[in-house]
Each structure stands twice: as structure tokens, then as C-alpha cells.
Symmetry: C2
Subunit: 235 residues, 2 copies
């Protein structure tokens, strides 16, 4: 371990601890509702696809999201939590994100799927560092890319090649997506003490300190920039 | 075998026969595109659901449709047919059906899923009697009810119990669905010789005669009436 990594107290990972349990339920509930909405969004986007092959490809990706949703609700059931109750606190924020970033065409939908999902997934992966090994394994499995990335990247790059003006419009769209994602994430962080506590934590809880949160924000931004570049867009 | 069942010549079920092969490819292509659109439709409808539990239930049903879609495209690939090419002839009719029966609320969506899908499935099941055993087994497996029926029936009956006026509106909606389904099915039957040939057939091809087609139509109508009754609606 190098000197500049602060040593952290061992986190409490006991599901019999009510506040830790509440945080895990929040995490799974937020993820599950996110997957459910992402599923419906991809399914709708599939109908905007320019070719039948694209329609099928996107529909298959959508079905993958639903498999993840099922994994998450099964885990909630195993924790004896009603999945709907666990999802409910996140409905407003997730729905608001989708309402404010309703894509008006096929390419916007692809950028949203790649860039919007990407930043959300990176954020959940960061949170996964603060939970027990079983929960972490599930979260990471659910977040695994199913091919969305390659699909979006090749379609968007092709569109820019066909018409360079597309790049400017989509770059603006990408910025709007990130802005809305941050707005809604902050809202959730403020409203959900347990989930927020996982990250910032009470002393000794194993959460990150402010310096670590700052580094996390830098990592999220860097990854976002990298994704925009892969699409051929300036962040 | 009773006297009033006409004996039929043994059908030609040889996939090396170009016209039989074309008919099977048409059948699989029509089914596959139907599933792909039904998938997107159910996914959209899931967002109209009044509760999160209903949203999840419908999304899970949608994902089942996509599994069927995948089975059908795999069979097409096994026949060395491009799935998109096989689906293309049916895009216009299926899309027209959905455009003309775009549900404006949750209950209309459920009735459409149950009654619209139901009549289409009965029709495909009838066609399945005229194809080889392997194709028939696949078609019947794909058409198997995954719980759509029970889900729609209990939700619609509950809605009628809450407000009896709902029944009249939904009964009209059911009639419109059947009318549009028949219009589009006739269009496909006329345009696609191979598929139509499976049913009416050239002499000796094993297709149905006119009397049998009449009986089939009666069966389809009866089943439709039965479904409407299960929903608590007059057909």
C-alpha cells in the first residue's frame, strides 16, 4: 500500500446492522428501478432504429437489462424486502431524469444509452467498494456491459462520418445528459441518508472522506470524457 | 376418424421444395417480427402501469416475447436465411396494425395484449397444422402463454368492478382490435403467396379446402368471444 492512500477503518458489513441493511436495500432498489426504466427506454428506442437488424440488436440489449432487474429483485426478496418498496424512493428521481432527457431520435437514444448508463454504472461501481463481498459481486455482475457500448460507438461514429454536423448536436446532448444525471444523483444522495451514508459515512463506518469523494468525482468525469471521445464527441 | 372430417392428402413437408420452404420462412419471419413489435409494445405499456408491481410484471412478460423472437431468428439462421430479410415483408402490415391500435391507456394496452395477441396466436396455431413436425413444435412453443392472459384478465376485471362504465369502452376497443387484425391478416394473405398457399394450398398440397377455412374462421371467432368474456366484456 503506498503512502498517499489513506488507511480506512474496516467497514461494518453486517446486514443485521439496520443502517447498513437500509443502505444495501437502497442500493439494490435504486439499481433495480434504474434497470427497469432503462429496459423500457431501450425497448422504445429499438423502434426508432433505422434498420431491422438495429431494432433486434437493441431489443436484445433491452432484454438483458431485464435479466439484471430480475437478479436484483431476487436478492431483495432473499433479504425479505418487497422489491416495489425498495424501488419506490427512486422512482421520482429516475423518472425525472428520463423525462428531462427524452431522446428525440435514434442517435440521441444511443448516446443516452451509452453515456447516461455509463456514468450511472461508474457511480454504482464506486459505491460497490463500500459494501460486503456478496452485494458487491451482484452489483458488478449487473453492471457488466452487454454490448451496449460497442453497438452505440459504431453507430454514432458512422453517423458522424456520414454527416459531420451531427457531432456538435450530440456533444451538446451528452453534456445535458451528464448535467441531469448529476442533478438527480445529488437529489437521491440528499434524500436517502442510508445510501448517502455508505459513501460519506459516519466516523468509522468505512465511507470515503471528502478527499476520496473528490478523487471519485475526478474518476467519474474522466471516464465520461473517455466515453464521449470513443463516440467521436467532445465532452 | 369420424365421417364428417374430410380426409386430406398427406402434405408435402420437404424443405428442399422451394415453395414449401418459402412458406416456412414466411411463417417464421412473420412470427418473429410480430414478437419483436409485441415486445416493444409491452415494454412501453409497462410504463403506463398504475403500480410498480404491474410495471415489473409486464416488463418480465415483454422479455419473454424477446426470448421467443430469439428462438425464431435462430431457426431462420439454421435454415440459412437472414432474419431481417424474412421479417421485412411483414413490417408494413404489423406496423400498420400497431399504428391503428395505439393504446391510449393502461387498460387498453392490456386488452390489446390479451385479445390482439390471442387472435394472432390462434391464427398461427391453425397454420401450424400445415407444417412439418419440427416447425410446428417451434411455433407452438413460441405461442405458449407466459402469463399474459391471467395478468390481463385479473387487472381488467378489477377495473370493471371499480367502474362499470369501463366495460363498454373496452368492448368497443376489443372490436376495433379484431377488425384491424383481420384487415392486416388478409393483406398479408393476399401479398404472400407462399404463406397463403400453406392454408388454401394447391390441389394435393395438404392445405385446407374452403369448408375447412370456414370452420377455422368460426373457431377463431369463438375463441375471441371466449377471451372477451373472460375479461368481462361483450364481444
Amino acid at each position: 500500500m503506498s503512502d498517499d492512500v489513506p488507511t480506512r477503518p474496516e467497514p461494518h458489513h453486517d446486514l443485521s446492522d439496520p443502517s447498513y441493511r437500509a443502505a444495501v436495500v437502497d442500493l439494490l432498489g435504486a439499481l433495480a428501478y434504474g434497470e427497469l426504466r432503462a429496459f423500457a427506454q431501450l425497448a422504445k428506442d429499438s423502434e426508432l432504429a433505422p434498420t431491422l437488424a438495429d431494432t433486434s440488436a437493441l431489443a436484445i440489449l433491452a432484454a438483458h437489462e431485464l435479466r439484471n432487474f430480475t437478479l436484483l429483485t431476487e436478492r431483495l426478496r432473499a433479504l425479505e424486502v418487497n422489491a416495489e418498496d425498495a424501488m419506490q424512493p427512486f422512482v421520482e428521481a429516475v423518472d425525472a431524469f428520463h423525462a428531462r432527457t427524452s431522446s428525440s431520435n435514434w442517435l440521441e437514444g444511443l448516446v443516452k444509452a451509452y453515456v447516461g448508463e455509463g456514468i450511472a454504472q461508474d457511480f454504482y461501481r464506486e459505491i460497490a467498494n463500500y459494501v460486503d463481498a456478496d452485494t458487491k459481486a451482484l452489483v458488478l455482475a449487473v453492471l457488466e456491459d452487454q454490448g451496449q457500448a460497442d453497438f452505440a460507438v459504431s453507430a454514432v461514429r458512422q453517423a458522424i462520418e456520414d454527416d459531420a454536423r451531427v457531432a456538435g448536436r450530440l456533444a451538446l446532448w451528452g453534456r445535458r445528459l451528464v448535467g441531469e444525471a448529476i442533478t438527480q444523483a445529488q437529489r437521491v444522495g440528499v434524500e436517502r441518508d442510508a445510501l448517502g451514508g455508505l459513501l460519506v459515512g459516519a466516523p468509522g463506518s468505512g465511507g470515503a472522506d471528502l478527499a476520496e469523494l473528490g478523487r471519485m468525482f475526478v474518476r467519474l468525469t474522466d471516464e465520461h470524457t473517455r466515453r464521449m471521445e470513443r463516440l467521436g464527441l467532445s465532452a
